[in-house]
Symmetry: C2
Subunit: 633 residues, 2 copies
Amino acid sequence: MQNLFSLIANADNCIKNGQEINSGVLSELKCIVNINKYIGVAQININSGNLEFNSKKIAKYIKFAENIGLEALIFPELSLLGYPLQDTISRFPNIIKEAEKWLNALAKLAENTVVLVGFPEFYKENLYYNSIAVLHHSGIKGVFRKNIISFSSRINDEKYQVPSSESGFISYDNSLSDASLYNKYNIFVGADSLNKVNDNNSIISIVCAANNYKANRELLKNKKLSNFAKNSSKPLLYVNQVGANDNIMFDGISCAYNSKGELIARASAFEEQLLVVNPYEDIGKVYELPFGFEDYVFGRNEFSLNYDYDLERTYNALVLSVKDYFKKCGFKRAVLGLSGGLDSTVCAVIVADAIGKENVYGVSMPSHITSSESKSDAEQLANNLGIHFTEAPIRSMIDTTTESFNELFSKVECDWNDRYKKSFTPDNIQARSRAMILWGISNEFPSCIPIATSDKSEAYMGYATINGDMSGGFAPIADVTKTKLFALARWLNKNRNEKNVIPESVIQKRPGAELAIDPKTGKPLIAEDALMPYEFLDEIIWRIENRQETYDDMLKSTFTYEKQHDISKEQKEEWLKKFYKRMSTAFYKWSIMPPFVAIEPHSINKCDYVQPITSSGINYIGVSDEYINECLA
Amino acid sequence: MQNLFSLIANADNCIKNGQEINSGVLSELKCIVNINKYIGVAQININSGNLEFNSKKIAKYIKFAENIGLEALIFPELSLLGYPLQDTISRFPNIIKEAEKWLNALAKLAENTVVLVGFPEFYKENLYYNSIAVLHHSGIKGVFRKNIISFSSRINDEKYQVPSSESGFISYDNSLSDASLYNKYNIFVGADSLNKVNDNNSIISIVCAANNYKANRELLKNKKLSNFAKNSSKPLLYVNQVGANDNIMFDGISCAYNSKGELIARASAFEEQLLVVNPYEDIGKVYELPFGFEDYVFGRNEFSLNYDYDLERTYNALVLSVKDYFKKCGFKRAVLGLSGGLDSTVCAVIVADAIGKENVYGVSMPSHITSSESKSDAEQLANNLGIHFTEAPIRSMIDTTTESFNELFSKVECDWNDRYKKSFTPDNIQARSRAMILWGISNEFPSCIPIATSDKSEAYMGYATINGDMSGGFAPIADVTKTKLFALARWLNKNRNEKNVIPESVIQKRPGAELAIDPKTGKPLIAEDALMPYEFLDEIIWRIENRQETYDDMLKSTFTYEKQHDISKEQKEEWLKKFYKRMSTAFYKWSIMPPFVAIEPHSINKCDYVQPITSSGINYIGVSDEYINECLA
């Protein structure tokens, strides 16, 4: 059967690239598929709200399925509309009626193959059923409707989707024969619905889903699906969306199980793919997942600086997040500042791999503080990677701005006489001048956006400049901590097709923004000296996100860093307090961060976590009863 | 009874300002209150998550109530914790246990007065009951728990609050006598719970709420509360939060009804206030609401440029939104660019009224395009208003940046040869240089943030510069359309204590950013010439937000603008298409807008409306069946 799978892969590539499928391939496929009960599982990447784009894609697969004679072809939940749409329905409800028009046209293409397509079925103003249409014999024969609308945090499904009380096939023309024909498919909309076994004479269970990607879900999902197949003694197909939309991502990994619950087919993660499977005769192909994906169940139980098992998954997710944001928004090019530091270096590699090196411009923007090593590292990286590169010194911009500022601040000081003795203004002028340059290029050249290079450790510390380095059209690594970025850089050097594009000196040097001179050393300030060791910082983040640990919990725990370094209790307290203090003033920055996809089980991505900016007065450390009594006395 | 109310107002002011209450006032109040059944309704403004701040405030009112002998004192839903906290519980669940400590201490203060305080009652990890504690005889006697957790869009209550199946008083020590004592209060947590009449021998209904402010809710709320009192033949008290937290606001307007459903007391809108009422004997005072507030039910049925009835409400809401953001985040000062245009002018007035004129710095930042009239209007406004003012020309910054850019862009052009012939770069350099100056002042002087002056019409059109005029710490008027701002400016000149602070020429001139010269006129480009008439634009926004009208609906409707101007169908189509096109590319800007409070029934505030940035491919105009068939052929 290897022949079948390579033929399908060949045809699938042609469909994706808009090429004609070789007639030899088609006739071979017809021979194999026509004599058996093959079902197509179309793991597609769709555009939210773009009915034309989605319909054209769906049509291509329907035509292919008809052409080779598949029994059925299944698409993910809400494939036609695109998902998520968040609140769009509340302003543009006509999109539901427009979707109906496209669905009718798609139905005409489905003759012998039973096509299952997720679409929004009009219920009443602003409300729709999350339904799966059955397209067959050139018409819409009926629907299966979602019964449970699960709580989806900020996606707001509950507001616009109405749960149906009817289960099973609902015929559009009350035809009993249709009902008996299509009830052989026991359809579930979304994996959350997969709780009850509908004993309705079905011979196969099908789950059409759009499962928001979470780093730690794969094994759980696999278990749930397999158990359901086994308990119902029926094969099960699961088709999931793939692709990213702003902050939300779908990882694909559609799959099929036989009636014993054994995995017989599985699509890849993070890419569009047509899986063809015969679930009745255990014929299917299991594609490999990125290393470690399946084992990454609940995240780790202990914080560890060994990220090896998770880097392939991380890299693939990052690349897809960038690729899709660009494609779906209509951007083609990216410009980014190359500082010679770790963050901008890893961003450059990710973005180049996502949109093509010819579409990436790296700009070194040295100031008086920038070391010559940083400049040469930036250039070296650009050369190794093959992206465009230029240098744009910002010294004249800094000088002019500083001069204007000096005069202005002296004036303001006459009215507000408590001017800071030491401020971040000189640092920020540099960061903002750089952002000005990047947005300038974005203004001047078509379809080009700047990349924000902030990482997750910095985001928690608010260690990024508003309108400076945290500004950009997309923030690829905003959910990756600094210690993981180091590991990722090493992994990239070892595992990308082109090895060692990242200069070793970038990985070796201690990170610093090179915005200020440390008076103690006379050299550019090292970030860890201003904050705390990244190993320690990243473990705090991990403990809060994954374990919900409090200040006291952390004080009592032994950090990995403590096992390797002898630090005093006072030092630990100081770092923990600094963490909470800095984080409390970072909420505003979180609220205006460019979009990024959550890579870890928990993140500060807008769809995962929102804390009010005005909650900066929270006391995370807690108080004693004596203190309370004094306060209220 | 007028004496009672003025004494209460006097004492309330002392409490709010941290002053000692005059002993004469206290003894007079004791005489009046002790012989009747008076209840205090504490409409307080609290800080999300700041247990110490909230507890201290609650304690002050409890002490006062005890002092004068109130029967009961009621606080809004979740007063102790602060509300909303959004996702904070999921990272810092210990805040619930900390809240318990403060509650225990507060209980000791409540001896003879029955105190009802909203607090988070621990249920299990990450989950709490939204409860009202009964504090009496120096202890927590028990609780009333919320039964229905309403869907609250992006606030995420459903995720962290668990609905209780028990209704009525739940005694903490299973004391039957306590139950019979406190069940005389029929407590509802949140106005949404007010659906069933609990016939449990209560003598009064009490609603402790935190009702997210919506422009069109007051009359509805009033009706609901009044009907409930009438149908249950019992008096009803409603206590609501007041104040703003980032994007979410509470308007106060706590009130009391007698058993006939008649309004007997009402607190003011938008301010902290203690209402003292005897609901059994119809004794209470009804404070006036801002003009038009009560009639503004469902918004208007027709779009109108006459905003008169709504400007007092709008002004009060805007001022409170700014005041609270500053206070709760710990900011004291604001800096803003004064262009001499309408937006920055109205912002300056609002911000000065919110935080005090001595805390506001207006900066005129003229470029080569800025007219002398604009400069003098800016200065005139600052002088009239009494805020600090200075001029900081940006010409040298523009020149240096432009020079750096020219060299850089020529280099980039060698690799990317499709550079725009005409770009917005020169416009954006000006806007970004100005933002650089404002953020510079913010960096240099303590507790100071820049104000983003974009309005709602511009936000819809994406007519604002990233890292430029749309950047700032808060965006006061981002939910006010341009035509309403004109009306508001006139209203301010007529109704503020100091009349006519806004120069008439600011209101007379046609808005324009003065960033570019219109080649047709040789003068600064007028925004309406680049976009469309604001009267027309604002009506599109109104129709989409309030009527969910489609392109076709709008094409068929007659706009107010059309009644006054003769425009062709082609012109109308062009403007509508331009609207959708510009809006589709503005979603990114919406996602990074500084916080602002929704003033209208619908807004693009992050808590009201989110549309994926990647949904820019939506076709709002719709397509014909022929077009669809061609696409899928």
